[in-house]
Symmetry: C2
DNA sequence: CTCTTTTTTTCGAGCCTCAAAAAAAATCAT
DNA sequence: ATGATTTTTTTTGAGGCTCGAAAAAAAGAG
């Protein structure tokens, strides 16, 4: 039941558009913004003048040796001090938090190793609260206030990005992180799936390649996916969705970490490759964790010669290929980014993956499907998390109707 | 690169909102529209007064015995003569066209049996042009003009809804129906996948059940799917997408009509059930067509006792269940409508389907997943097609900025 | 120093939405 | 019947927003 457009929405949306144009295009001039948004020069002038007055934007008077004649364009830039956000990443045995300024630069950072699989529920929650608190404390000194906290976590969140419903990193379920952190710090919080944040980050890193439609697949202990379709992050109807790793590859097949059988992950996750490479039964219990070095060693063995190791990677590629084929049957092929330790062994996976895709509906253009690899997922997740938090701030600074100046003036006053 | 909101967009969008509110809610009063859209009474009053002046809407002065005190609400209704559209449905060996008035009522209808599988490309195109021409001719007499043609067809279209890329009903591919029909009739044309139109129709028929997220599955000779996610028709990045029937059930499994192996359809399409029921090899060639009566007879046999027929339906259910499980892994569970002749045998399919789903990631809430059945797909497809054409008209009557009155006045003048 | 070019700001006109007031159209009570 | 009451719809005036045109600003070119 869509709602009518109120008169004041107009300004709000166009303000958002100007801010996002500045965030996206680096340092555009007013004229460039007018061109990309299709709004008139007068409108852009008025809006950017407001935003500068509110200390959201600033004129970047860099000494641009303009080769052109005429009045030189003045570049607009985000004001780094307009806001600060916190990006928290929780993954297997690892917790990190970063404080990010409005331009996306890291102000402070903190890492901790945890035994997430065996920690108590309260302990895990407390650790997250602590690490955020520590970041905030350090900021307190500089006088800036955090306006938004984004928590990226391996696992399934609800569609409202408030609750961690399920995660492989701890047996505890339904942890309402958003409520817990909001109660503690009084700052709006969102909880997002890590792979969704990877996709978000890829779009910022390489908008040429990752624009309207693409897929980011995490090959790690488990298999995760983040997907952007028609320019929007794809989520499930109730949860963060996109559980590519738990699509069924072979009905009643190998045992998956999730307790079911035949999932793609049960053939292509680290533990599955490990299990197959060591000749263990497909029904045997998945290993709890395998360190990256061991996986690297496995890949090295597979590269040395044909044997069970190479076969394990071949099997993984096949599972991924058929899974992608099924996915492409639904959404059509799109560029794929392969992220995580598995990307370091993508040379071993790719041949059987492509062969499998070619045997599916998505394989009609299998030659044109392109894969990019990025072995380290952590920076991606943190970047995506930060950008997610920042774009939320972008849309909150020009506030819900009533006092758009108030909230931003507070930020500006700092 | 989203574009700013111009000042004149505002009116245009709010007009669209009012029209869609009237189409959706039957005969709402101005007050009700103000409530559902969130716009003020004055705005609704102004817009509806315009629309009535342009003969798009009309006041429905039905003798409503208002029980309430106060000035009675006057219901607004669509003006049936505001526009007329054509809904054309092309399926296996069957072509139909209907002329629909602005309220969605059928004005004229025409059916033809064709041998689509063996017709020449030009012949097939000519038949479609003919049947539309015939409908238009008949209308010419009544003086009304068709403003939009929508063609629903089994198969894959491009994302722009202009070209039939591939279809099982004829070996010919890449037929640019939209261009062909537009060239002939000078009326805007869209070409849509039949299952997408089924989904569209279900939303109009039963908005209570089919609202934001649901799936319509066609069980027929092949397997088709239309899906609405977050209130929007889900399409692929390049094509109409949603080729559920060609998700992989068993890698390198049974032979599918599409030439590949192991697709869901190769286990659950009519030809697959037939093949399994008759003990034919999974690698044997799919039958070209099986009449509904034969399928009904097969279902009757299956109901009589345990045998190869019942087993064939069991296998079909299992393929559908694992397929839905994989789908639900991506999008989370949602209500499902089972449409087509297969829905008449859903009692035979459901047990194994549910058992399979329960063994997948989507099966977490398998008990709460609900299925509706509707054995006759044709009326649904026609309805969806009509509504699709009409909603396009809804959004074209308040035109692209310049002369919104012109086009609608033409319609009104008729 | 003046002319040209390009960017940015200013200004007035034209719409649009909104809130409040007024008008309209019915029922209820006497 | 008639006036009071209630509810819906229209009218009116104010305030905002965007736009195009004109003016101002800020450079290089000659």
């Amino acid at each position: 039941m869509s709602v009518g457009i109120r008169h004041d929405d107009l300004r709000r949306r166009n303000r958002a558009m100007v801010i996002s144009a500045v965030r996206r295009d680096g340092q555009p001039s007013r004229t460039e913004i007018a061109a990309t948004t299709g709004l008139s020069h007068s409108t852009i002038s008025a809006i950017s003048s407001d935003l500068i007055g509110e200390c959201v934007l600033m004129e970047a008077r860099g000494e641009t040796t303009s080769l052109k004649r005429g009045r030189p364009q003045v570049a607009l830039a985000l004001n780094p001090d307009a806001a600060v956000v916190a990006a928290v990443v929780l993954s297997l045995n690892f917790l990190s938090a970063a404080i990010i300024d409005y331009t996306g630069h890291v102000v402070a950072e903190e890492h901790r190793r945890l035994d997430t699989q065996h920690m108590g529920r309260e302990d895990l929650i407390q650790q997250c609260i602590d690490i955020v608190g520590q970041g905030l404390d350090r900021l307190q000194l500089s006088g800036r206030r955090v306006l938004r906290i984004a928590l990226a976590v391996q696992g399934i969140t609800d569609a409202q990005a408030r609750i961690l419903l399920w995660t492989p990193i701890t047996p505890h379920t339904d942890i309402p992180f958003a409520d817990l952190l909001e109660a503690r710090f009084g700052i709006p919080v969102i909880v997002e799936n890590d792979c969704n944040m990877m996709a978000e980050a890829l779009r910022w890193r390489n908008p040429e390649r990752y624009r309207e439609d693409f897929i980011a697949i995490l090959l790690s202990h488990g298999i995760g996916m983040g997907m952007i379709l028609k320019g929007e992050l794809f989520t499930g109807t109730h949860s963060s969705g996109g559980e590519f790793g738990h699509m069924i590859h072979k009905p009643d097949g190998a045992r998956c970490r999730c307790g079911r059988r035949g999932c793609v992950e049960a053939y292509a996750g680290n533990y599955a490759i490990w299990r197959n490479a060591h000749g263990l039964a497909e029904s045997s219990e998945p290993a709890a964790n395998i360190v990256d070095d061991d996986m690297q060693a496995l890949a090295a063995l597979a590269r040395e010669g044909d044997g069970p190791e190479r076969e394990a990677y071949r099997t993984a590629g096949e599972a991924l290929g058929f899974g992608l084929g099924s996915l492409f049957a639904l959404i059509d092929p799109a560029p794929v980014a392969v992220v995580g330790i598995g990307a370091a062994a993508f040379d071993l996976i790719e041949p059987s993956l492509r062969a499998a895709i070619a045997r599916t509906a998505g394989g009609q253009h299998s030659g044109s499907i392109s894969f990019d690899t990025e072995p380290d997922e952590r920076p991606l997740i943190r970047e995506g998390c930060a950008m997610r938090a920042l774009t939320f701030v972008d849309q909150e600074i020009f506030a819900p109707g009533s006092q758009p100046q108030e909230s931003s003036r507070q930020a500006a006053a700092i």
